[in-house]
Amino acid sequence: MKKAWFHSVLKLLAIAAIPLLIYPIIDTIVIGWKLTDRQTPLELLHMEGWLFLGYGIGMLWYWIKQKRKKPFPKIVDKLVPYLGAVFPLVGAGLLHLTEWQGYVACVTVFSTILYLVGVRMPYITYGRILNPIVFYMTIASTFICFFILWYMKGQLAIDEKTLSYSMTPIVITYLIGLGIFALVRNQSNIDYMMERRKHKMESLPKKIRYYNVMLILGIFLLVVILYSFKDWIIEGVWFLLDLLRSIIVAIGWGIYYLFNLLPESEETGEEVGMDYQPLAPEGSSWNDSLELIFRLIVIAVFVFIFVLYGKRIWRALLEKLSQFKNWLVKLLGKNQFVKAFQNGSDYYSDEVSSVREEMDQEKLSESAKLTVRQWKKECRQYFKSADTPEKLKNGYGLLVEWLTLKGVDVCVSDTPKEILQKGERQLKPYSGKELTGDYERIKYHEKSLEQQQLAQMTSVLKQLVQNTK
């Protein structure tokens, strides 16, 4: 695959993201030795430096091998770049001359590992550098670090202010690392989809990559916005945990009372669990039980409301969201209805346009269309109306509307006989011929209305209402 410049940029970003994602590990080492994390950002920079040094030396060696006609012996090829490990081994020590030996040893080992990882980077694609396994491992290691520090706090009985993380740098570095991870995953996915069928990269329109990057940025912004509500999220998590605890306690209480209803055991002569109150903490009072019952009632009420009115609430919410979205679109509204012509390539041309107008027109025409529900409503009004000659005409109108609902193509210019012909199949079981004849007599020949005719029309319409779903 011919490499483009952006592949090199993505690779550099992927390499830079590694220390960002393992920032909590670096932080833990620093706090573990120094009891404060003030030095962590500096250490992060050192780690980035050793990683890129390893990458630089690895790239240089790679370039030398490419230029040379004869390949080096295998041992030389393997060992030479690793000889550069002397830099972090000595350099890390020199940078931390005044520190404790243990701390220097930790930092030196870490720096050397990162250097050696950097040396391998020229041979790994950017997609494989930041793959999902690496991401999950960094999350897991972060939680392990938090646990280690919490454990150390407990063991050493140190106060809250020392031996604790500053969350802001951790979150910032993690967010940046995450953003790079998402970008790398997205672009490597595009490369994979192209390569798996051996498609040429030149055939991929350039704007696709750019648009994907924009979407990733959009998602990143969404993460940042949602993270700003972290307090609510934390409260929500606590609430859910509390709710779960309450449900478990309620189940426990339920089991406890059920056991109480059982008769005394004859063999042991012991009463079953009267003194045992499961899952209730020591010193719990009647107030706690009341609170638990109250919570359960509230939950039950919410569930009841949700089951009864859930759909309506959801529809109303969607409508509000749709209005908000339309407002946002109007506010931002760049070129929504403008036709844009774009020249695709030597082999094709593209024309891009918006379909909003077309969809709005479709919606308007759909809303103007008669629905079964509306027709039934009109029929109900018809049944309630007074018996007049007009009523028969209205009834005939409802009959024609029913035919259009059934898919018969009735035009405005059609005569009653033509409508009868078109809807012959549908009207056959409902004496359509007679109804059409009655209508014609009333409308064109101005004959007087007979009760029997009206009754027949009403009866047919009632049947149609019943049979139409």
């Binding site: 998402a182 648009y211 024309e351 891009v352 379909v355 969809m359």
Partner: protein
């Protein structure tokens, strides 16, 4: 807890985007692919139009349509992959919310025949590669590519020039509708032929003079074998394709003169009957014949010699044109027999031939590129003894 909140937000968004794309990528997304014309000629440029409409808020960040069509519809150049009979073309789209993209590919029809879009598959993915989705698209577009006409005078030459007296067919009866002038009355002339005005003028009895006319019509007999003793599938396809183009050229020439023309071919389109068309004239009829030529498969149902014998009595046109890739004794025999019956017979040869193989008594035209003078080394034998 802050870190946990971050992880929860990230996990929720990742899962949501994956689920959304999985469920909604192909919903409210319409794809349509068609060729701009139903009919074209060899070498014509047409368009393949792809239309993708996304009628939802969710954008499609990457969409690929894998088009499989005949290799004889040339488009996409280096982007396409050509196999035995098919051409695979990937087409990449990026469709934003509520957007329509119409892509027009420039297509060249390389060869005559009936071609269509064989298969189209749509492939999409989510933003992070968690889900790959594919969906087949409906295809029902087809094009009939008609054979291209040749400039027969430029492409063909007649190595043997027939000179001297030519036998002309003389009719027994005069054409009563064709007046060539007036002449003096003879005893054999009927009274109704007297031209009274001319008689008054000349002061002697004058009569109408009618001339002899004959309505010209062509029968084109196409040979789908590229060499003698060929059974079934045609071996030298290009020679037979040239034969088909010659037929198309001849049909085109009959339009201006409104000359009736018919087509005979020793192959079958429906798998049952040989190709024998009706004799008619005009542009519509010629187009119909060209469509028949476009549908002709590259195989033969029987040897050309047998076919000529079979249709011998059925061919009653004034001019018979044989179009073949090779020359054989049966063809020459047919030509000579028809000539003796007073029918003008011409043969167009598209295969390799040498001067020594051509008889002197028959009108034969050879492809200039495939003719070698006497004594030149041969590339291909077309004459069967």
């Amino acid at each position: 807890m802050e870190f946990l909140a971050l992880i929860i937000v990230v996990a929720a968004i990742l899962i949501l985007q994956s689920v959304l794309f999985k469920k909604m990528s192909f919903k409210h997304l319409t794809y349509h692919c068609e060729l701009s014309r139903d009919e074209a000629e060899e070498g014509d440029q047409i368009e393949l139009i792809e239309t993708v409409v996304n009628k939802k808020w969710l954008p499609i960040p990457w969409l690929k349509s894998e088009i499989t069509t005949s290799k004889w519809l040339d488009f996409a150049g280096a982007q396409s992959i050509v196999t035995d009979q098919s051409r695979f073309v990937p087409s990449f789209f990026m469709v934003k919310s509520y957007q329509k993209v119409q892509r027009k590919w420039k297509v060249t029809c390389l060869k005559r025949g009936v071609f269509g879009l064989q298969k189209i598959v749509l492939v999409s993915t989510d933003l992070l590669g968690g889900a790959t989705l594919s969906h087949p698209a409906k295809v029902d577009s087809q094009i009939v590519v008609l054979p291209k006409s040749l400039e027969l005078e430029e492409v063909f030459l007649s190595p043997k020039y027939l000179s001297g007296d030519t036998v002309v067919k003389r009719h027994l009866l005069e054409d009563p509708f064709y007046f060539a002038g007036v002449r003096e009355y003879t005893e054999r002339d009927p009274m109704n032929k007297i031209h009274w005005l001319a008689t008054a003028k000349q002061q002697k009895i004058m009569v109408h003079q009618n001339d002899y006319t004959s309505r010209q019509s062509f029968a084109v007999i196409l040979n789908m074998q590229s060499m003698p003793y060929e059974v079934g599938k045609t071996v030298f396809a290009e020679n037979v394709e040239n034969c088909i183009r010659v037929c198309a050229s001849i049909f085109d020439r009959t339009i201006a003169g409104q000359v009736p023309v018919s087509l005979f071919a020793n192959t079958s389109i429906d798998g049952e009957n040989d190709v024998i068309s009706t004799e008619s004239w005009g542009e519509e009829h010629v187009m119909e014949l060209k469509r028949i030529l476009a549908h002709l498969p590259l195989n033969s149902t029987e040897p050309y010699g047998e076919f000529l014998n079979m249709i011998y009595d059925g061919v009653s046109s004034t001019d018979v044109i044989l179009v073949s890739s090779y020359l054989s004794e049966e063809i020459l025999e047919f030509m000579r027999n028809k000539r003796y019956s007073g029918i003008h017979v011409t043969l167009y040869l598209t295969g390799f031939i040498s001067g020594e193989e051509l008889p002197d008594d028959c009108e034969i035209y050879c492809l200039a590129d495939h003719f070698r003078e006497e004594g030149e080394p041969s590339d291909e034998k077309s004459m069967v003894s």
